[in-house]
């Protein structure tokens, strides 16, 4: 385990906050917002997949719940954007609890858990695609209205700062996990569930809490996505792309670490842009590179970039290797 200090986290967030002030071009600003959204989704994935060792292949279910709540509440019920954001996050936790309740009751883990989360996300996608309430296949649009109450800004640096604020919360949640009894339980059940149970850990309750927090964070990413792009449909909100990007970023960055998901999101998306520039018009090159990086990182750096950096001598504690 690597345990960054709070001050380190503060420096990282501050550094990221300074970047937009330096006067980024619109496209870089856009990219950075997207990075933060993916980082947040990945932080959510990391709570469950990284700390608790339950790899989900269907975090789109949470992302979509947040995104749809955000847009549906605002457009159909005239709810204020900020309140919609809170409800969206809560809905993510609820969906997490629902999926968790069903699957953990049946004791699903490993491949089975991955498969069932995938199936839930797909069911959500098909339902959202065919229900009028969610705009059906046409998707739903949010109106472009700038101003603080609408959570849309003429100067998009403000939006970036808000997204960054959420990423900071994600960092704090992970930091807290590493310093709390609850976090220790999670890791214990990842390493050996039976042993944890024997020691008196209420495994079911711990997993339920983990999936609810995980769902809430990823739903927040969904809310921000909807608010930034102002349009969602079933394939965007519940599509497998986000399940995969969240998982990628967390694993490549370092699953079960505080900074991993953020680092992973920045590196992967940055690399993706770079590949696109180098590869010109060849389709699929960026994703191809993602896939290669995933396989390589599982093979050579199963603990992610965070650990790789540590073991390359930035500070090589013996602990890092056993984590």
């Amino acid at each position: 385990m690597t345990r960054p200090r709070l001050s380190t986290l503060a420096i990282i967030v501050a550094a990221l906050a300074v970047v937009p002030l330096a006067g980024l071009s619109g496209s870089l600003l856009n990219l950075m917002i997207f990075m933060m959204i993916i980082a947040l989704a990945a932080q959510g994935w990391n709570i469950l997949g990284g700390y608790a060792g339950l790899s989900s292949f269907g975090h789109a279910a949470f992302f979509g719940a947040g995104a749809y709540a955000m847009v549906v509440l605002q457009t159909r019920f005239g709810v204020n954007a900020w309140i919609a954001l809170v409800i969206g996050i809560a809905l993510g936790a609820l969906v997490g609890a629902f999926i968790g309740f069903l699957s953990f009751r049946s004791g699903l883990k490993g491949s089975y858990f991955a498969l069932i989360t995938l199936a839930f996300a797909e069911v959500a996608r098909i339902l959202a695609n065919s229900t009028n309430f969610t705009g059906g296949a046409a998707g739903i649009l949010l109106k472009l209205q700038t101003g603080l109450p609408y959570l849309q800004f003429a100067d998009r640096r403000y939006f970036l700062l808000i997204a960054l604020g959420f990423v900071a919360i994600g960092l704090l949640v992970s930091w807290w996990l590493e310093h709390s009894r609850f976090g220790a339980y999670l890791v214990a059940l990842r390493e050996n569930e039976q042993a944890a149970q024997a020691l008196g850990v209420d495994v079911f309750a711990v997993k339920m809490k983990a999936i609810a927090i995980s769902g809430a964070l990823t739903a927040a990413a969904g809310c921000l996505y909807a608010q930034n792009y102002l349009f969602i449909d079933a394939n965007v909100a519940f599509g497998s792309w986000i399940s995969i990007e969240a998982l990628f970023a967390a694993i490549v960055g370092g699953s079960g670490t505080v900074i991993g998901p953020l680092l992973g999101a920045i590196v992967l998306l940055g690399l993706g842009e770079l590949t696109k520039m180098v590869s010109g018009g060849i389709p699929g090159m960026d994703l191809l590179v993602f896939g290669v990086i995933l396989v390589l990182s599982v093979a050579y750096s199963p603990n992610g970039l965070v650990m790789l950096m540590k073991s390359l001598g930035l500070r090589a504690p013996a602990k890092a290797r056993e984590a």
Binding site: L29, N129, A137, A138, L144, R156, I282, G284
Partner: protein, 407 residues
């Protein structure tokens, strides 16, 4: 092998357009010539819709060359048009990202968009910069319903197209002595198909058609046999399909196999119904299929030239080429009228004037208060032999409808 060369040449074109942009952006260069006007073209150059993006690019490049060869923009002292391509990579975020890139490149306007989802996010991104955006073929009505000042749509929207499709269907049926009484609708359950099915269900019965069944199927579909079996049981006079290329091909093949022979197949924005590839690969299954879709004026000599260019590039011609060709022409006229490459002035000029519609059958293009081209019109086509012919309306038709097709 040829495939590789193609993508290579596309890459080179892309790179050189970027290089050009940066060269010309350098201040003080070539002071004698008026500064070129940069036009952004947002198209899916990669990803699932890459083929459409390629076709659109060919059309736009053709128009740019024509305009520049004829002396550029007269109102700006012969300023040349310069195409800057933004790759929307066939998805919505990348479309927004590419629009940002076009904005950074300093384009005077963005043309294109192609798919509705991409266009919705891209137009909104452009709206942040008051960057004029003229849509090429995305049909979702909502695109021009949001009160975005910068957004114009050249092509007919969904409601307009279906209204024309229905009108022409009635005429077709009347002319042939009303052979059609029953209709079955087969649609994919996405934006495209569901929307169309809804309108058809509402509008067809008052026109005297009985809808015997509406069948939805997912995309991608693994199998169309069940759909076709139902059609065989119902034996409708007319099948109205609305789906993408693959599913249409699957259905048409299965219809042929299961010997289901309706009196007509009438698609609206049919994925394959106006695709030369479909006609080429499955001539028998494609025979007689009708479509109501974007289509260039078949009688214009430029249409023939564009087709030649597309065929020479080893591709199958489709509507993306004539639309984007015409769109560039409309943009050039707007710049002439604005007398400036200033964005606000271009928006003003687009909103206030009438334009020649290039080779699209739109008569005089005129954008209404919402930014929709109120003269836009889809054409009815039919697969006849190895060709796709226009059968309606009469002023653009180059063939008579063959209807009913099976006796």
């Amino acid at each position: 092998m040829t495939r590789h060369q193609k993508s290579l040449s596309r890459r080179t074109v892309l790179k050189s357009s970027v290089a050009l942009t940066s060269m010309l952006a350098a201040p003080g260069l070539l002071r004698a010539e008026p500064a070129p006007v940069k036009v952004g073209l947002l198209q899916p150059i990669s990803g699932a819709f890459a083929l459409d993006g390629d076709l659109a690019k060919i059309g736009a490049e053709f128009a740019i060359k024509e305009i520049n060869d004829a002396g550029g923009i007269k109102a700006l002292g012969g300023a040349k048009l310069e195409l800057v391509i933004g790759d929307s990579r066939s998805n919505a975020e990348a479309g927004a990202q590419a629009t940002e890139e076009l904005q950074s490149a300093g384009v005077a306007a963005v043309l294109g968009g192609f798919a509705s989802g991409i266009t919705l996010t891209a137009t909104q991104t452009a709206a942040r910069y008051d960057l004029p955006f003229v849509v090429d073929c995305a049909v979702a009505d909502t695109i021009t319903d949001r009160g975005l000042k910068n957004t114009f749509r050249f092509n007919p929207n969904f409601s307009m197209a279906t209204a024309v499709a229905l009108k022409n269907l009635v005429k077709l049926n009347d002319d042939a002595g009303k052979p059609i009484k029953t209709v079955a609708i087969v649609h994919e359950d996405g934006l495209f198909g569901s929307g169309l099915a809804k309108i058809m269900q509402e509008k067809l019965p008052p026109l005297g058609f009985q809808i015997v069944e509406t069948i939805a199927h997912p995309t991608p579909a693994r199998d169309m046999t069940n759909v076709v079996l139902r059609l065989r049981a119902l034996n409708p006079d007319l099948i109205v399909p609305s789906h993408y290329f693959n599913e249409f091909v699957l259905m048409a093949r299965t219809l042929q196999q299961q010997r289901v022979r309706p009196k007509g197949i009438y698609a609206v924005f049919g994925g394959a119904a106006s695709s030369y590839r479909f006609v080429n690969e499955f001539p028998e299954a494609a025979q007689g299929v009708m479509d109501c879709n974007h289509w260039g004026d078949p009688k214009s000599p430029i249409t023939a030239k564009l087709r030649e260019t597309v065929t020479a590039a080893g591709k199958f011609y489709a509507y993306n080429t004539p639309i984007n060709y015409s769109l560039v022409k409309v943009f050039a006229q707007a710049v002439e009228k604005a007398g400036s490459a200033d964005r606000a002035k271009i928006i003003e000029a687009l909103a206030a004037n009438e334009f020649d519609s290039g080779i699209m059958p739109y008569g005089k293009t005129k954008f209404d208060a919402k930014g929709q081209n109120s003269s836009a019109l889809p054409l009815n086509t039919q697969v006849q032999g190895k060709d796709i012919k226009v059968i309606y309306p009469a002023e653009y038709a180059d063939a008579k409808p063959v209807f009913p097709i099976n006796g």
